[in-house]
């Protein structure tokens, strides 16, 4: 521990703490611009300069580590003059048109800094050298005239997301934020996560959709959970007058600590098209608007007529984007209440089945947690594209592999993560079990394990051939993954049992990404049956704001009575006999179980149109009309079978 005196206050901090962090911990405010609590210090803007006794010049407090008995002053005239001068230089470098900038008037850290220092004008006028504005990206506008070269975006793109798209070219007055080797953002390796926009202190990086829709102080900020995938990132949803303004990653959320991906941040901005606003019933061949009363009556009477039938009864499926409460009521209504044999989800257990079987046979959880990814020293990614889905898990890998941890990718499809891998293996389709066994054989052959296994070193060639790869490939791969703290991330199609054995062999932690927001919860409820439609007379699809494949829709055609509960119109609703308009994810609340067993509550952020109801409310109303009583005890049901990962509240 070291002691530092700041503005007369004695503060004790651990060695290595910067003067800035020490001051902040004691409630002393030093203005900053390039600093950010989640990024490594850069010391570029010089706004945080302070006086240090004995030092020749003013020092940047954000990069200066505290030394024992250091005496610091943050509020002398010298410091105040320096701050004004720093801001003067910053304003003179580029072209700041505050009157019409989207963040001006409260949300610009540069403007607020200037007001804080009492600046009424620019002592140095700019020379009006124009800088380019890049509008090539579908979501993000890069306005270089407003850039203060703080490099928060560059650091975020590298340190938080691991994408390293953004960087600076040239020097001095010609310094320019660019993507990759100097291409426009819309044609670059940018993955549209928007973290750069979230950290930008000025209006240099803004998103088109929320421009001019309102300042933060005019909006309501609701903390909730993203349901774009099974990770369950914490998000801040900004709304104004019941309209979505923008979505930020929640810096305080333990799951993601501020980062989110395109699916969570930008995709929801465009969800308003084709919303269903009224219940509809098919009359004389076409769908006609009707009341909830009539729609529920028609639905429940038809469903009751097929109650309990085997083979020609009711088929029911639900989207795994729905809350646990909804899934629980769904199961209660259709499985117990209406006695349907085919009650499942739209993903048919594909993402969870394998791991659930292993957990069942073991009698206990066997997977690790997301947090284990943070101190893994090698990663193996199997059969899952972390660039397309579960992107934040991909960020956790991408942002560390430059600094030591190694990456092995094994996939039967083209996997974009292969580009960053130390070793990438592309096996033949449906040969994952053989591939994993080949890896085990390789590990044994190389003597990289002390564990016992039935697989022998001599088995390597045989397994390798089956997968269409060479034995040498597996030997290389074994070196990558057989480290002190390996982490294996896998998805459907991969034999969890074989993988579990391999993990034990090398002492690795396992995580399966498990599909969508509540795929694990649906698995716990036993809703994993494949959708095999026979002579079913009625079909209920609780789609919500999800999508299903064209193939499934085609299979549905033959069912004579179809009920669809959905948020937007689609080919599926077009063929339905009853359409019930449902809220989307922002308009309803409920619990979600993330891929590593974290139980979280999603909060409602918007109110849907008058005749639109939450999916849960629709199922409860349907139960009531059908005379079925449902219980609310989903917590017990959630634990009634062993999960692959420990469920934590």
């Amino acid at each position: 521990m070291v002691t530092v005196t700041i503005d007369g206050k004695k503060i004790e901090v651990s060695e290595g703490t910067t003067v800035l962090r020490a001051a902040q911990s004691a409630g002393i405010n030093i203005p900053t611009l390039c600093d950010h609590p989640y990024l490594t210090p850069y010391g570029g803007c010089r706004l945080c300069l302070v006086e240090v006794e004995g030092a020749r010049t003013l020092q940047p407090s954000c990069t200066l580590p505290v030394s024992n008995n250091m005496v610091v002053k943050t509020d002398t005239q010298k410091v105040l003059d320096a701050r004004k001068f720093v801001l003067t230089l910053i304003f003179s470098e580029r072209n700041h048109f505050c009157p019409y900038c989207q963040v001006s008037g409260g949300d610009c850290e540069l403007q607020n800094s200037a007001y804080h220092e009492g600046m009424t004008h620019w002592p140095l006028q700019p020379n009006w050298q124009p800088y380019p504005m890049d509008a090539s990206h579908p979501y993000i506008i890069l306005e270089n005239n407003r850039c203060i070269l703080c490099r928060r975006c560059v650091r975020a793109c590298g340190e938080l997301v691991g994408n390293y798209t953004l960087g600076f070219e040239e020097r001095g007055a010609n310094s320019l934020l660019v993507a990759d080797t100097g291409v426009v953002l819309g044609e670059s390796s940018c993955i549209s996560c928007g973290t750069c926009v979230q950290v930008c202190p000025t209006g240099a990086l803004i998103d088109r959709w929320s421009a001019y829709r309102g300042h933060d102080e005019q909006a309501i900020d609701t903390q909730t959970i993203c349901v774009g995938c099974s990770i369950g990132c914490g998000i801040n949803v900004f709304t104004r007058d019941n309209n979505l303004l923008r979505i930020d990653g929640n810096w305080d959320a333990p799951v993601n600590e501020g980062v989110i991906c395109e699916i969570g941040r930008f995709k929801p901005m465009n969800e308003k098209c084709d919303r269903l606003v009224t219940p509809m019933i098919r009359k004389n061949g076409s769908l006609k608007a009707t009341t909830w009363e009539e729609a529920l009556k028609v639905t429940s009477s038809e469903l009751k007529s097929h109650k309990g039938k085997k083979g020609d009864g009711i088929a029911a499926m639900i989207s795994t984007r729905q809350s646990i409460e909804t899934i629980s009521h769904f199961k209660g209504l259709f499985s117990e209440g209406l006695g349907s044999e085919l009650v499942t989800t739209t993903e048919e257990g594909a993402f969870t089945e394998s791991a659930a079987k292993v957990a069942g046979s073991l009698g206990k959880a066997f997977e690790g947690k997301l947090i284990d990814m943070l101190d893994a020293d090698s990663f193996m990614v199997l059969g899952t594209d972390l660039v397309k889905d579960h992107q934040v898990a991909g960020f956790f890998i991408k942002r560390v592999i430059g600094n030591g941890p190694r990456l092995l990718v094994l996939d039967a499809e083209e996997n974009p993560l292969s580009l960053l891998a130390n070793k990438a293996l592309k096996n033949k389709k449906n040969t994952f079990e053989d591939a994993i066994n080949a890896l085990s054989a390789a590990v044994v052959k190389l003597g990289l394990t002390k564990e016992k296994t039935s697989i022998k070193a001599t088995d390597l060639d045989g397994f390798a051939t089956k997968t269409g790869l060479k034995s040498e490939d597996y030997l290389d791969a074994a070196y990558v993954i057989a480290t002190q703290k390996p982490m294996i991330v896998y998805e459907k199609g991969v034999s969890a049992a074989a993988l579990k054995d391999f993990a034990q062999l090398i002492g690795a932690k396992l995580i399966s990404v498990k599909g969508k927001a509540n795929s694990l919860a649906a698995s716990q409820f036993g809703l994993e049956k494949p959708v095999k439609l026979g002579a079913h007379k009625a079909l209920v699809v609780v789609l919500g704001d999800d999508e299903i494949s064209q193939k499934m829709i085609k299979d549905f055609e033959k069912v004579p009575f179809k009920v669809v509960i959905a948020s937007s119109s689609s080919a599926l609703t077009a063929m339905a006999d009853v359409v019930l308009p449902a809220a989307n994810w922002l308009e309803q609340e409920g619990h979600y179980l993330s891929l590593d067993g974290r139980l979280q509550k999603a909060n409602r952020c918007l109110t849907p149109a008058t005749e639109v109801r939450s999916t849960d409310a629709i199922l409860l109303a349907l139960a009531e009309t059908t005379g079925i009583k449902l219980n609310n005890d989903w917590t017990t049901e959630l634990h009634h079978r062993v999960a692959a990962t420990e469920i934590v509240n």
């Binding site: 019409y100 504005m133 509008a135 090539s136 819309g186 001019y212 104004r240 007058d241 308003k272």
Partner: protein, 475 residues
């Protein structure tokens, strides 16, 4: 010795600075008078490269008196470029802001600009013919005028966060809905607003009766008339089709605003930075037309609100149903529009959709260009943008309200000069009337309250050899 050129500089309350030069012939009669608009900023160039959605915040900086007009016309052009027509509640709210603006702008022009002329007289001592004089002569009326403007400005601030350069309309809709308390507050000032406008109407009608000679010889000339109307040719200030009638009152055209290029063009003169729009089929200057209150009322066949419509019928009777050509009747027409706008605010506030939060259409269908048109207080305002596939502006064309009246203002100055300068002896009365001719058109920038003290005008009288003969100055 006969004077050749008279220069009046500056003309007050015009976009930036303007001056009048009057050429006399050898006999000392006015040959021609020119109104030189002396300012140029270049919005049509420097907006290139900005985003379409920034334009509703950049273009209001063209004018601090009617920023709302630019804000809304720009958003409408943005709606067209994004292919995202706003939901009905958003259009209602935009129109509400627009009506607030019409009330404040028209009200202020009449009371604080024209007021001193009309209440204290054209020829009244210049030292008292101003806001201070008005305040002393009739403090109650002045306060009413201030509150009239305040009512309109507060509607704007309620919706857009600020009275001037509000942030409200975005392409596809608006960013805020109306709250119940806000509606109550606006309605609370309604009765006083109507009462003040009616006081104004009494003033102008009384003044007209007492000054018929001036009314009939002061800048009276034929032109076409141009502005928005609804399908039944009722006055429209926010949304509609553009209608153009000829000097005899017969309809020449009625078209979608986005097709304006097919019908009008702009002529350039070397001696003014303001261009001259005209109707292409009749060429320049045969195809000139007037916009703004006089133009719009001539161009319309009715007004959809009851009190304004009653006044409107009286206005139409002034020339037995034919277009009213007298420049000074602009003041009367302005107040009728002010009354309509105030009444219409109430209609909008009573609309069942006025509290709806369905205020933004986020489904885009981008187009390469888009036109947005509204009737600003001073006339038809046209914003035309061309954008690339990323929504970046490639080209901008703006035809700004007062511009359509350019020829008419020049003609008014010329006509008044010819009417009142009959010889080499130039008296002070000339100065006031020349100013009044321009002022009646309420050219943009007539924010002002009016003369306090004397208007400093320098009149130089020069002989044919350009020697200075006589200098008349005041102030």
């Amino acid at each position: 010795m006969v004077a050749k050129k008279i220069t009046i500089e500056p003309v007050t309350r015009i976009e930036g600075h303007a001056k009048v030069t009057i050429r006399l012939n050898d006999a000392g009669k006015v040959e021609h008078a020119y109104l030189h608009i002396n300012e140029f900023r270049g919005f049509e160039k420097f907006c290139e490269g900005r985003m379409v959605f920034e334009m509703p915040l950049i273009t209001p900086r063209i004018c601090g008196i009617c920023p709302v007009s630019h804000h809304l016309a720009s958003a409408k052009a943005g709606d067209a470029v994004l292919g995202a027509p706003p939901p009905r509640p958003a259009s209602l709210l935009r129109e509400l802001m627009h009506m607030g603006q019409i009330v404040q702008s028209h009200g202020m022009h009449f009371f604080e600009l024209a007021g001193p002329d009309l209440l204290l007289g054209f020829d009244c001592d210049p030292a008292t013919r101003n806001i201070v004089g008005l305040l002393q002569a009739n403090p109650e009326l002045t306060l009413k005028a201030v509150n009239l403007r305040k009512w309109g400005q507060e509607i704007i601030a309620t919706l857009g966060g600020r009275r001037i350069h509000p942030v409200f309309a975005v392409p596809g809709g608006v960013n805020k809905s109306l709250k119940k308390e806000e509606r109550e507050t606006i309605l609370a000032g309604y009765d006083d607003t109507i009462a003040t406008i009616k006081v104004g109407l009494d003033i102008i009608k009384g003044w007209a009766e007492a000054n018929m000679e001036d009314i009939n010889k002061f800048a009276v000339f034929p032109t076409g008339y141009f502005g928005l109307v609804d399908p039944e040719n009722a006055l429209e200030l926010y949304e509609g089709q553009i209608r153009l009638i000829g000097r005899d009152g017969n309809q020449l055209e009625k078209f979608e605003p986005s097709h304006y290029l097919d019908y009008i063009a702009e002529h350039v003169e070397n001696w003014s930075y303001l261009k001259f729009p005209y109707y292409k089929k009749l060429g320049f200057p045969g195809g000139v037309y007037r916009v703004g209150p006089l133009g719009r009322l001539n161009n319309s066949e009715k007004i959809t609100t009851p009190m304004a419509n009653e006044e409107f019928k009286k206005f139409k009777a002034l020339n037995h149903g034919k277009p009213v050509e007298n420049t000074l009747y602009y003041h009367y027409a302005r107040l009728i529009e002010c009354l309509y706008a105030a009444e219409h605010v109430k209609d909008l506030l009573d609309d069942p959709d006025i509290f709806s939060t369905e205020i933004l259409n986020t489904c885009h269908n981008p187009q390469p260009q888009g036109v947005g048109v509204v009737e600003a207080p001073r006339g038809t305002l046209i914003h035309h943008y061309w954008a690339d596939e990323h929504g970046k502006i490639e080209k901008v064309n703006l035809i700004v309200s007062t511009g359509h009246n350019n020829w008419a203002m020049c003609e008014a100055v010329d006509s008044v000069a010819k009417t009142y300068i009959t010889g080499p002896d130039i008296r002070e009365g000339l100065l006031n009337r020349v100013e009044a001719a321009v002022r009646a058109y309420d050219p943009c920038l007539s924010c002002s309250t009016h003369a306090v003290g004397q208007m400093p005008i320098v009149i130089e009288v020069r002989d044919p050899e350009d020697h200075l003969v006589q200098t008349l100055s005041r102030g």
